[in-house]
């Protein structure tokens, strides 16, 4: 087998050193009745590299790749152009095949990257400090709710109706077992539920969770909410599923959010059918000891040279066990590297230019689609994603568009099954990868489907 270097002679020599007669002598602790005498039945045997590659090529061909079609899906995962150097650099073996940097002197590369990543995320979100990543946006969101509970010693979280429904589901799953109370809603179409949120904050509220831009793409000033939370001793958690937006709009931290979490997939990582992605988590300096996840910090070595180490580990499971701030161990290191490289290539200037292009493209598409009879725009404001109401259920429309080779958006029927008020809604994302031809194709296909 090509990945196994030991030869039969090696195995014999090594067994002799050990003093064992056969390999099965090393498995004596496995009860004999449970030990398998041969390969697990019902499974195929080894295959060549070529055969395995062919198998996957055949499966890959059964999928419609985003880059092969006019593509307008978003709702928590966005297609952006990732410079070729990003994927090249993350495949360097010293990054790809390294472990968590517990041995700092052998891991300065990963650690400096994490320090830079933390700084980039903190600045992007307008916060003091960020951690070294979480699994994804949805789990980062629940971790933020948990952290708000620890900070405020309260157990009621108020979730905006504009929060991605999967994020709400994750929070509901966890809250059922932790005993937290969640105040949730589905999206209002007439406007956001800001009034509901302001009215729901009380002395029991640990936090208010609001997505920015929200799941329908709307953008709203969070400052009044931040002030109301502060007055009530609750924390404001802002959730950003499209970090590119922050090249164009104010950061949540700037508007007073206490914790900002996000999905970083847009930069460097790609679509990947939902994972792995990279959870972003940032907050104020004063809450750092309540943060979940790994943190990289600056220090010096024995000769005074600057270096980096994992730090404040007494928050974490491997030290604190059942008293840890989270059970997270493995995070999303390589995706954080990809995010960081892409962000380094862009810089603040590139991010602004990219955001401006995304927004202008989205405005164009919104204008074109709402010119089709029966199509109306839900949003007063948006960045690169907006919601239109169609004259019939959007779910079927999405399938009909796909049959015409156009991946036209995410239906609210998929996100909110059974909600009649939302079933005609279609969430359309428009990034820099969308060409004029793609826009014309979507417009033409939608006209045909709605005709």
């Amino acid at each position: 087998m090509r990945y196994l270097p030991l030869t039969p002679d090696d195995r014999g020599e090594m067994l002799a050193v050990i003093g064992a007669g056969t390999i099965d002598d090393l498995f004596v602790d496995v009860p004999a009745e449970a030990r398998l005498s041969g390969p697990v039945p019902g499974l195929p045997l080894r295959q060549t590299e070529m055969a395995v590659e062919r198998h996957f090529s055949n499966l890959a061909r059964k999928n419609k790749a985003a880059s092969d079609h006019p593509f307008f899906l978003g709702a928590g995962a966005y297609k952006h152009h990732v410079p070729a150097s990003v994927d090249h650099l993350i495949q360097r073996g010293e990054f790809l095949t390294a472990y968590t940097p517990y041995q700092a002197e052998a891991s300065q590369g990963t650690l400096q990257v994490l320090f830079e990543f933390q700084t980039q995320v903190a600045r992007l979100f307008g916060c003091d400090v960020a951690n070294a990543s979480m699994y994804d946006g949805s789990t980062a969101c629940w971790e933020a709710i948990g952290m708000a509970g620890r900070v405020t010693r309260r157990k009621k979280a108020v979730l905006s109706g504009g929060l991605h429904p999967h994020y709400v589901s994750v929070a509901k799953t966890m809250a059922r077992f932790t005993g937290d109370t969640l105040d949730t809603a589905t999206p209002e179409l007439g406007g956001t539920d800001m009034d509901r949120l302001l009215g729901a904050i009380d002395a029991e509220t640990s936090c208010v969770v609001v997505q920015y831009p929200d799941v329908l793409g709307r953008i709203e000033d969070l400052s009044p909410l931040a002030a109301a939370c502060q007055a009530a001793g609750a924390l404001l958690i802002a959730v950003v599923t499209e970090p590119v937006a922050l090249g164009a709009i104010k950061s949540p931290g700037e508007m007073g959010a206490d914790i900002v979490v996000g999905e970083g997939q847009s930069l460097g990582v790609g679509l990947q059918f939902g994972g792995p992605y990279v959870g972003l988590f940032a907050t104020r300096d004063k809450y750092v000891r309540q943060m979940p996840g790994r943190l990289c910090g600056e220090t010096v070595d024995a000769t005074g040279k600057r270096g980096y180490v994992l730090t404040l580990s007494t928050r974490e499971q491997h030290i604190r066990r059942e008293k840890a701030t989270s059970n997270i161990c493995t995070n999303s290191g390589l995706c954080a590297l990809a995010f960081s490289i892409h962000m380094t290539l862009l810089g603040g200037r590139g991010l602004r230019d990219l955001a401006a292009l995304n927004h202008a493209r989205a405005v164009q598409v919104a204008d074109r689609l709402t010119a089709i009879p029966g199509v109306t725009l839900v949003n007063d404001s948006f960045f690169n994603e907006f919601t239109v109401m169609l004259p019939k259920p959007a779910r079927a429309v999405v399938h009909e568009l796909a049959a015409k080779g156009v991946l036209g958006g995410v239906s609210l029927g998929r996100l909110y099954p059974g909600d009649a008020a939302l079933e005609n809604g279609l969430v359309v994302a428009v990034t820099e990868v969308v060409s004029d031809g793609d826009i014309a194709a979507l417009e033409a296909a939608l006209k045909e489907v709605l005709a």
């Binding site: 990945y3 030991l6 390999i23 449970a34 195929p44 045997l45 080894r46 590659e53 996957f56 790749a65 985003a66 150097s85 994927d87 495949q91 360097r92 073996g93 790809l96 095949t97 472990y99 041995q103 002197e105 052998a106 300065q108 990257v113 320090f115 830079e116 600045r123 992007l124 960020a130 070294a132 699994y135 946006g137 999967h166 799953t173 922050l246 164009a248 104010k250 939902g274 994972g275 750092v288 220090t299 024995a302 007494t314 974490e316 030290i319 989270s326 493995t330 995706c335 590297l337 380094t344 810089g347 603040g348 590139g350 602004r352 990219l354 202008a360 405005v363 404001s381 099954p417 820099e432």
Partner: protein
């Protein structure tokens, strides 16, 4: 701090001041120093050419960003150089032996990287209509079949994002099953030698945690465990093989006792590499076990992640498995069971753990690894991993104390202690000495049940020659610790940095660059 490093020549030293071991740059030939992007970059620079935006009236709702972001950019050549230089300050499996116990740092085949990057997998959106993603769903379905069959379990939840997330999945399934029985059991039992994630997970899910002691042979104390079982115990979390590198021969008896007392058995599958293809956990009475695809099935660790932690479940827990999962229809097509049809397909599901459907990029890699090995190759994996570990264990007899070496063979990892080191010398010194020898150190100070633990997991992808070289190096360093070589106290001497001050980092945390934000 927050200043460029002070290595090398500086102007105030004067022209004549470069000593024989100093350089003008602070570089050491092929080992190049690299400053932070915030020091070398510029907020007006970008390494990406972007088309100008077409004219369009802003609809940003009056929230256009006015404040500078403060993020520097680098041109592409500078970017490539920055990260290439940083990469060379890292140790990886590609470079050498990485015997980190409990972490299973094995070779990462590049076929798996190529497969994961096929356009049909990497460039597919999680919410695309199902008829456009049948190949992606087929990968999940095929991997699920392998995992269920290799473990002899009933079903598998594929969405957990990493090992600890998988633990959470199993523990939530147990909690949901107890709720369905109308029972409110509050206690999870965890052996002292468990990974920290076990007690942290149980607490995260609202359980209280109690420790079970180990026997002198390094196994769970069956009598103590049985004595603690009762109507308040929801279940146990057992790592098998355990973190001392030993198989738990009583696991079936433990399972039977826990089941008889109305509880469930969670098995931490972090060490599945030792037994894959040799024994099925389902045959030992396990109710739930996570599988770290980034360990046993070789998806790269990437400097800390991503992982992937599918959880195999027994028939008793399967009804409570999370959403979404892949279901094969009568016509052979595949679909995701999500919230919409949960009431019909999986009415007792405890819900969703994560947005979307799990770590697709890890599924493709793990399945490529599995198909390459086949059932026969996977059995060889476990056998070679165990052989390599025992070879290390026996080859160091008389040099390092092996606390359980007398009780028979180990599984995939060999455990040593600091017994016999000279006064003032510790496991940490040995670890740092190994860095100078060109190895990544083993896991240190874990498990907590022995003093100064050193846990060596060679994995099956090391040759005998590589093992022999490591054994020689570890013997040399251990003997230096035993005779008290002062040079070992200040190791590493040849790494990109000398020993780093972790106390300072924690006492005065500097977690972000605080320099100029200008734009």
């Amino acid at each position: 701090m927050n200043a460029p490093n002070t290595a090398g020549w500086r102007p105030e030293m004067g022209e004549g001041h470069i000593a024989h071991d100093e350089t003008f740059t602070g570089n050491r030939a092929l080992m190049l120093e690299e400053r932070l992007i915030f020091e070398i970059g510029d907020t007006s620079t970008t390494g990406v050419d972007i088309d100008p935006a077409p004219a369009a009236a802003s609809r940003l709702g009056g929230l256009a960003r006015a404040e500078a972001i403060g993020l520097p950019g680098l041109s592409e050549p500078e970017t490539v150089r920055h990260y290439t230089r940083l990469s060379r300050q890292n140790y990886g499996i590609d470079l050498g032996f990485f015997p980190l116990g409990s972490c299973t740092m094995k070779h990462n085949p590049r076929l798996n990287e190529a497969v994961a990057r096929m356009k049909g997998f990497k460039d597919v959106h999680p919410l695309q209509p199902r008829e456009t993603v049948q190949g992606a769903l087929a990968v999940i379905d095929e991997l699920a079949y392998w995992l269920v069959t290799l473990t002899g379990m009933d079903s598998v939840a594929m969405s957990p994002k990493a090992g600890a997330h998988g633990e959470l999945c199993g523990i939530l399934a147990i909690k949901a099953a107890l709720e369905a029985r109308g029972e409110d059991r509050k206690v999870i039992l965890v052996p002292e030698s468990a990974h920290g994630t076990n007690p942290a997970t149980a607490a995260f899910a609202g359980f209280s945690v109690e420790n079970i002691p180990a026997t002198e042979a390094g196994r769970v104390d069956l009598a103590a465990l049985k004595a603690r079982l009762g109507p308040d115990v929801a279940g146990v979390m057992i790592t098998n093989p355990n973190t001392c590198g030993l198989f738990e021969p009583d696991l079936k008896a433990i399972s039977d006792a826990v089941h008889a007392a109305g509880g469930y058995v969670y098995c931490d599958g972090a060490n599945f590499n030792a037994i894959v293809g040799k024994v099925r956990p389902g045959d030992l009475g396990v109710d739930a076990m996570h599988i770290n695809l980034h360990k046993t099935f070789s998806t790269p660790h990437g400097g800390g992640g991503p992982g992937s932690g599918p959880v195999v479940l027994s028939a008793a827990l399967s009804p409570f498995a999370p959403l979404p999962y892949v279901k094969r229809e009568a016509d052979g097509s595949l679909r995701l069971v999500e919230e919409e049809t949960a009431a019909e397909d999986q009415p007792d599901s405890f819900g969703r753990m994560v947005a979307f459907h799990g770590q697709m990029g890890m599924f493709t890699r793990a399945l490529a690894y599995i198909l390459s090995h086949g059932a026969d190759g996977l059995q060889q994996v476990a056998e070679d991993a165990v052989l390599n570990a025992n070879y290390v264990l026996r080859s160091l007899e008389g040099v390092l104390d092996a606390p359980f070496g007398h009780s028979g063979p180990c599984m995939h990892e060999a455990l040593f202690t600091d017994d016999g080191f000279a006064e003032g010398f510790s496991t940490l010194d040995v670890a740092k000495g190994l860095i100078d020898e060109g190895f990544h150190p083993m896991t240190v100070y874990f498990p907590l049940v022995v003093h100064g633990a050193m846990l060596v997991e060679p994995t099956e992808t090391e040759s005998k020659a590589a093992l022999d070289q490591f054994i020689g190096a570890l013997r040399s360093v251990a003997l230096r610790a035993k005779r008290g070589d002062p040079a070992l106290k200040t190791a590493p001497h040849f790494a990109p940095r000398r020993r780093l001050d972790e106390t300072l980092a924690a006492r005065k945390p500097v977690l972000a660059w605080k320099g100029d934000r200008g734009e």
